[in-house]
């Protein structure tokens, strides 16, 4: 049923439709509305049987989920930013043990400096943890991906994160079509665990593995995740058949493949990029947007295929690897290896800085007029002078103070908020 609803509320309802048996919750902005809504659904009995555990930290949230999933329960949790880092140890544990937990990440920047706004540094910091990582462009897609995520996780016996931009999606009210319980039940059968803690058939889970077998175990993990490259599109296709709309899959190109210039991105910014693409195409600029929907495993062949014939690729990402450069950019280059396509690494939207159509138009013009070099890290809407002033300040005195505070004083800003 289609309704005008907040993203978090929609996701909570979608998760509830998947009949999780255990939900563990620790609040962190901007995920709070999701776990609050699930609490209500459990309390009213709308979601039942379900145990809702209010835990004492994110580390506990995922740890409880690990226990619950190992005991054969369909399990869900959600987090963001610092919370994701706090459960880092458990992330690797869950994927290593092959537990099909589904977790929403309401993407948010990682401190220091503390920042509650959206970017992708949280999930990117954990990109190697062995979870499957899906990205939603809209709240509709977020809803759809959660349903697909449980199916995916349980088929492969691997945990899955569904990434949705914090605040930008979680707190946006927009139209969402929520499926019915009957539709979801038909699509998602009850959880049949590959391994389970059952007194009737005792097993030992989580033994130490030494040098003689560790490599093989890791290779099996990798092989299993690579299977997702086939399973993700198949589940997306099954979803389309069952629910009548396309979402998910590995990637999508707008409006078509084979354009001269392709902008690659993940998440909600793709909506804004699509608008800019339309405006430029109306001016006869041959540009397209490539949205990556499945970031891990990395759909290398599919991306290479999608970028066939491109004369230049602009990777626009909401995170970067300090000390080296773009993350998605690196991954894209891997997909393009051997092909003489220049790749432009553009970092935008860090810490919630809005990515505007105007800036994107300027960026595209700069690239097309060769005012920006490929293979060079570019920051969209960077205040270069501010950075220079701070660098100068640092060079002048050993006790120059913290960068953030100096810069805030410099711009005369004390309030938070992007406006």
């Amino acid at each position: 049923m289609r309704s005008q609803i907040e993203g978090s509320q929609a996701v909570a309802r979608a998760v509830a439709l998947c009949r999780p048996e255990v939900v563990s919750a620790y609040p962190i902005s901007p995920q709070t509305h999701i776990v609050e809504a699930l609490s209500d659904l459990v309390r009213t009995g709308e979601l039942s049987p379900c145990e809702y555990l209010m835990v004492e930290s994110e580390f506990a949230a995922l740890s409880a989920a690990i226990g619950a999933s190992a005991a054969g329960a369909r399990t869900y949790t959600a987090t963001a930013s610092q919370g994701l880092l706090y459960m880092a140890e458990a992330l690797y544990n869950a994927s290593g043990l092959g537990l099909p937990i589904v977790m929403t990440i309401a993407n948010r920047a990682i401190g220091a400096p503390i920042n509650i706004w959206n970017d992708h540094s949280d999930v990117m910091s954990q990109r190697d943890c062995g979870w499957i990582q899906l990205f939603a462009e809209s709240n509709q897609e977020a809803v759809d991906l959660h349903v697909q995520a449980f199916a995916l996780a349980e088929e492969l016996s691997l945990p899955v994160t569904v990434n949705m931009d914090g605040f930008v999606l979680t707190h946006a009210v927009e139209p969402v079509d929520l499926p019915s319980q009957a539709q979801v039940d038909a699509f998602l059968p009850p959880f049949e665990p590959r391994q389970v803690l059952d007194p009737g058939e005792p097993v030992t889970i989580g033994a130490m593995v030494g040098p003689e077998a560790f490599t093989e175990v890791k290779v099996l993990m990798h092989a299993k995740q690579m299977q997702a490259l086939d399973v993700v599109p198949r589940i997306a296709s099954d979803f389309e058949d069952a629910f009548g709309r396309g979402s998910g899959g590995l990637l999508r190109t707008y409006p078509r493949e084979g354009a001269d210039t392709v902008v690659v991105a993940l998440g909600s910014v793709l909506g804004t990029i699509d608008e800019v693409v339309d405006e430029l195409r109306a001016e006869n600029v041959d540009v397209a947007a490539l949205g990556i929907r499945c970031f891990r495993p990395w759909p290398l062949e599919e991306i290479r295929q999608a970028l066939q014939g491109a004369r230049r690729v602009i990777v626009l990402e909401k995170a970067f690897a300090v000390g080296i450069g773009g993350i998605v950019g690196q991954n894209v280059r891997l997909a393009l290896s051997g092909l003489p396509v220049p790749v432009f690494d553009v970092v935008a939207g860090l810490g919630g800085r809005p990515i505007t159509k105007r800036s994107l138009h300027t960026l595209l013009a700069d690239v097309l007029h060769e005012r920006i070099e490929p293979n060079q890290l570019t920051f969209l809407d960077l205040d270069r002078e501010l950075v220079q002033r701070e660098l100068h300040r640092v060079s002048q005195s050993p006790r120059s103070g913290p960068h953030a505070e100096n810069i805030l004083r410099d711009v005369g800003t004390v309030a938070a908020g992007s406006h």
């Binding site: 707190h171 927009e174 908020g417």
Partner: protein
């Protein structure tokens, strides 16, 4: 696309206003998107919320820098925040106050806008009357409906009733209808 920016202070229902407006548009079969800016605001700090209304799917997600309509829920923001940034000369301005633009020192400022598109409404007083609380957002939505015609007051009422129930819903609806009638009347009067 019609873009609305709403300014107010935390606790005045600014975010709810934007959401209700988007629901009202949705109920009329249109596409709508509402979202707030966020900060570590507590009650009383400046808050901004946005609403886009269109007939086709809204894909863009940036804050509204060039609003077609501005709603100001709290006149004390006037000299604290750059409220009017990006409002074009044929934009709509709706200000919550019992005073006039002249009284607030905005007389000269509003001359560059279309006089029919700039309105003051004592929304807080209207809310106190019908709701018993100084929560001006519903009244302002009713006024907005009259001012811009982007949504009908009936859709605003329906949106309110979807979100709230009982006396809270009815009080808000009455406040919206009261402000709506008032703006319509003032509009007729100014053309008389």
């Amino acid at each position: 696309m019609f873009q609305v920016r709403i300014h107010g202070r935390g606790g005045q229902g600014v975010v709810t206003a934007a959401e209700l407006l988007s629901v009202a548009a949705f109920l009329e079969g249109r596409e709508a998107q509402a979202f707030p800016t966020f900060g570590s605001e507590r009650t009383g700090a400046p808050v901004v919320a946005f609403c886009r209304i269109d007939d086709s799917v809204i894909r863009v997600r940036e804050p509204i820098t060039e609003p077609d309509a501005l709603i100001v829920q709290d006149p004390t923001l006037l000299h604290q925040v750059d409220l009017f940034a990006g409002l074009s000369d044929d934009g709509y301005l709706l200000l919550n106050t019992g005073r006039s633009f002249d009284d607030l020192g905005l007389g000269a400022f509003v001359e560059r806008f279309d006089v029919d598109r700039c309105v003051t409404v004592p929304a807080t007083e209207i809310a106190r009357e019908h709701l018993g609380r100084p929560l001006p957002n519903a009244a302002l939505l009713g006024a907005f409906a009259a001012l811009t015609g982007q949504v009908s007051v009936d859709s605003v009422a329906a949106a309110i009733r979807e979100r709230f129930s009982g006396p809270t819903a009815e009080g808000n609806v009455t406040a919206a209808e009261h402000a709506h009638a008032r703006v319509l009347q003032a509009g007729r009067a100014s053309h008389a």
